[in-house]
Point group: C2
Chain length 177, copies 2
Amino acid sequence: MKIVAEKIVYKARFFEVKEQEVALPNDKKHVYQSVERRPTVGIFPLTGTHNLYLISQYRVMFGKRILEAIGGHVNKDETSLAAAKRELREEVGMRASQWEEIARIEKSASVIRETFHLFLAYDLEKGKPNPDAGEDIQLVKLPLKEAVARVMSGEINNAATMIGILLLDNLKRNKKL
Amino acid sequence: MKIVAEKIVYKARFFEVKEQEVALPNDKKHVYQSVERRPTVGIFPLTGTHNLYLISQYRVMFGKRILEAIGGHVNKDETSLAAAKRELREEVGMRASQWEEIARIEKSASVIRETFHLFLAYDLEKGKPNPDAGEDIQLVKLPLKEAVARVMSGEINNAATMIGILLLDNLKRNKKL
């Protein structure tokens, strides 16, 4: 399969829409319509006693508050780690002196490209948050075990948040946390 | 926050792009650009001895073969369960007599709306696959434990596949499988 032509048909702040003409092995052509989103980061701040910080915020898309990981988009000319540090500071006013990238995830494999970097942050220090206008963020502290229970019950159903919690649970059980 | 105007600016086969004008509490207006994708399903066929079936297929987006869960989009006028049964039959020629929806996931919370239904399928019966033109799918059978190891190593990094495997692992450890 070979891409023979490509154009951007819509450009938004956080994503762009592409049409790619692909030559199939049978000599036919096919137009792929896809979305490419700016990379995102999710931050999982963990205390020494395995308490995890999540946030609760109102999401227009669902018309209600959602319990999810701290996170946001990576800016141009910014590394994913720098974005993670910035989001942690802006959204909840926290700093961490130890960071570890525990996963690099592709949210989809066909129509939408969204790379998600997942960071574990520890040695935490609290400060004053500086959220964007319109953001209404509440910090929620809960034991990792309780977070796992909320994933299993379906209460936490945001993909990146689920993955972070389940990975941390696995690392803890295997004494790697 | 209130949506005061909405228009569809691009319509693709599997998604559409929307612009929504939202009135913020401070009386300012903000335009949200978002993508709404058709719902998708992922199927996790599991044998009585906890072997899991995944597929390996070439993905144009990554330029290589990816190990991931069987799945696809839900058609219009089709339930998510009907879509899961159809995809299992078409992609790998398999039927299952027992089905359980183990999660309903939102892949994103802000810019992109993608609902993903995750099904556990058991009591399996093999048959002949009927893939779409251009699909080159290989069925891969592996112990659930091995699948978990590949998630933890980062080899399996597709979000929906990771979540399914980690949820099944949790259910198994809690003797619910």
